[in-house]
């Protein structure tokens, strides 16, 4: 795990300690030219703070939306993004890669 992933979990812990609702998104599988390797993390709060990344900026918005759902429901989600995927067209995965992102609530 790279140094930046470590900092991101520390950030998640600090945000939760400050009373925020926090969700963690992790890249769990990639195909093709995905910009971030498996294990890359993005943490999101209900108040809209974000740290880390799961792509080169292509899908962060969609992942943050899913993260907010997971924070409310407590149910984790496994998201698929790829060029054959309608949702990826919407958010525009310009790199042409495919990836799976796991979203879970911290708590």
């Amino acid at each position: 795990m790279s140094a930046d992933s470590e900092d991101i979990l520390a950030t998640a812990a600090a945000w939760r300690a400050a009373g925020e609702d926090v969700a963690i998104a992790t890249v769990v599988e990639t195909w093709g030219s995905s910009p971030r390797p498996a294990g890359s993390r993005l943490v999101v709060t209900a108040s809209g703070r974000m740290e880390g990344s799961v792509s080169g900026g292509c899908i962060e918005g969609a992942v943050a939306d899913a993260a907010r759902q997971t924070m409310q429901s407590g149910v984790p989600q496994l998201l698929d993004f790829g060029i054959s995927d309608d949702r990826a067209w919407e958010v525009g995965l310009a790199c042409g890669g495919k990836l799976k992102v796991f979203v879970e609530k911290l708590g």
């Binding site: 140094a3 979990l9 769990v28 599988e29 879970e104």
Partner: protein, 230 residues
């Protein structure tokens, strides 16, 4: 992820213990290895992920698991608290390396010159290097180009499994260094591990540029340049 599990990950990181996080997809059940009662087949995969320092997916029967290793930081040991070290230390720290600078010359090895994020050893280089025990996640760079200081460090480092060893000095300096190390009993296979003159040849002139060339070579040693991958 439960706050308890996150705290255990943080504790392992603080104690510099390697640990793998196992997540069952898609329901998100999680375990740590070592620490939890992980089935043997998964434990074997977790060990392999830690050795490779790369996340992996494993199917176990009907279950799908994502394994994410958390290794202690890579280490960089710098011999010589010289001008180039002052540029190299903060850059290496930014790349995630835990940096130790070894220099028995007290005037050089000070926190004022090197910053607070570095560990400083004032021991003689062979003793310091023996105590630091370079492993497969350690890079060693000698910068003093003083044989009295560099050579004892190298004699220990070259017999260690360090993944990178680089030495500052011209080709001529390096030829003389190799002669001395041969006399000290090191074999050709060990001597071939030395990158010298240190750093990628990017025409670096200033200390920060030389630091970039050294760190680029260290990254290439660990990851492998793309052109050499299949």
């Amino acid at each position: 992820m439960t706050p308890d599990l996150l705290a255990r990950l943080a504790a392992a990181r603080a104690a510099k213990h390697p640990v793998a996080l196992l997540t069952r997809l898609p329901d998100g059940a999680q375990m740590l290895h070592p620490g939890d009662a992980v089935p043997e087949a998964l434990a074997t995969e977790a060990e392999a992920a830690l050795r490779a320092d790369a996340a992996r997916n494993v199917t176990l029967g009907a279950e799908s698991w994502f394994i994410q290793p958390q290794n202690p930081p890579l280490r960089l040991i710098v011999v010589g608290a010289v001008h180039i070290a002052q540029a190299l230390v903060p850059m290496a720290a930014r790349l995630g390396y835990a940096v130790t600078v070894v220099d028995p010359r007290r005037a050089f090895a000070t926190e004022e010159r090197l910053g607070a994020e570095v560990a400083i050893s004032g021991d003689w280089p062979d003793e310091a290097m023996t105590a630091l025990a370079p492993d497969t996640r350690t890079a060693v760079v000698t910068l003093t180009h003083d044989p009295k200081l560099d050579d004892p460090a190298l004699e220990v480092a070259l017999r260690s499994p360090a993944f990178y060893i680089g030495c500052l000095g011209s080709r001529r300096t390096h030829a003389k260094r190799l002669d001395r190390l041969r006399e000290a009993g090191l074999g050709e296979a060990e001597l071939a591990k030395i990158h010298a003159p240190v750093g990628l040849d990017i025409g670096a002139v200033t200390a920060p540029e030389i630091a970039v060339s050294i760190l680029a070579q260290i990254v290439a040693s660990r990851r492998g340049p793309k052109s050499e991958k299949k």
